[in-house]
Symmetry: C2
Subunit: 198 residues, 2 copies
């Protein structure tokens, strides 16, 4: 019933994760009513997205050069590496302003159910990096506090072949603004076990 | 922190309605990991969206010709016009399979608060169309059952200058699968008033 070009846009939008057919219709109608100057930048950003983008040879963060901005920043503490699952986790940690070291992006977590083993992640690259750089003193493992994230953290702590590198895990506990009454038992238990002094 | 081309895509996605900065980030990362063959059709669909698209001269539905597919279909009942707010409403009604007449898309509803008067809608075009076509016998007003939709329906019924054209309004009542206990009083009241016989 709709013109072909509009239907094509709806079909393509509906393929995106979290966007169903109704949302795709509404987005397409919104774009149709927008001026050309609104639509063109989005179309061009999509077509040129991958141009010049690659992963940092050092930490596997996304970059438009060979080495990412964080790895090439001399002001960064090179004794610390924060291990994260995804590129967006780097952004989230950077936003806190509480970490001045470097990163290592695993691009996933160990998940036997989904058939994801260490070979499909950047874990061996992490081990190599730690082995070849005697400056590294601490590995802050910031994978998600999920079953897979915990298993990946455990795997790293077990197979990292450097005794002089301290391996730490980001703290588990109640998020700020939480209500004790509604906290799950595992989180509350961790919050009690890991209580800190003043 | 992110490469410019990726950040640009995130910024453009975040301008879309219903897509916040976090969703935009996640969509951009998904697209980045997708193959070129997945991204290009979306980019091209956006860039070519408006090419050849216009509004039907007769009913103001979207079309890639001068006259839309429904208006140019001789099998359609030309004595009925269904008046809807938006192009997507035509799709919704077509999907029911219960209506074989033609349409008229108003492109909005009367809304004094938002400064939208009859001049900004296709209401005068509707009146002209009805005036010039003696075949038309019924106007099915299918604007939304909201304050603005009802006001627009009332406006049309009041100012349409043809006594031989019947004006009807789509029924209000309980949606299928609803629970009487949780229905609002206005809807339940309408359902009682507009009860139908067997």
């Amino acid at each position: 019933m709709l013109p072909a070009s509009l239907q094509k846009l709806i079909d393509e939008l509906a393929k995106l994760p979290g966007i169903g057919p109704k949302t795709a219709q509404r987005l397409a109608m919104y774009l149709l009513k927008s001026p050309h100057s609104r639509i063109r930048p989005l179309g061009e950003a999509l077509l040129s997205l991958k141009e010049g983008l690659s992963f940092c040879e050092n930490c596997w963060n996304i970059t438009d050069g060979d080495i990412c901005k964080i790895c090439s920043d001399p002001a960064r503490d090179e004794t610390k590496i924060c291990v994260v699952e995804e590129v967006l986790d780097v952004l989230a940690i950077e936003k806190t302003g509480k970490y001045k070291g470097r990163y290592h992006v695993l691009h996933g977590v160990l998940s036997p159910i989904d058939g994801i083993s260490a070979d499909q992640l950047k874990i061996h690259e992490l081990f190599e990096r730690v082995k070849n750089d005697p400056e590294i003193k601490e590995l802050v493992v910031a994978t998600n506090p999920s079953l897979e994230g915990d298993a990946t953290a455990l795997y790293i702590s077990k197979y990292l072949n450097r005794d002089d590198v301290q391996i730490t895990r980001i703290a588990r506990g109640l998020p700020i603004g939480a209500d004790l009454e509604y906290a799950d038992a595992a989180t509350l238990g961790k919050a009690l076990l890991n209580r800190t002094g003043y």
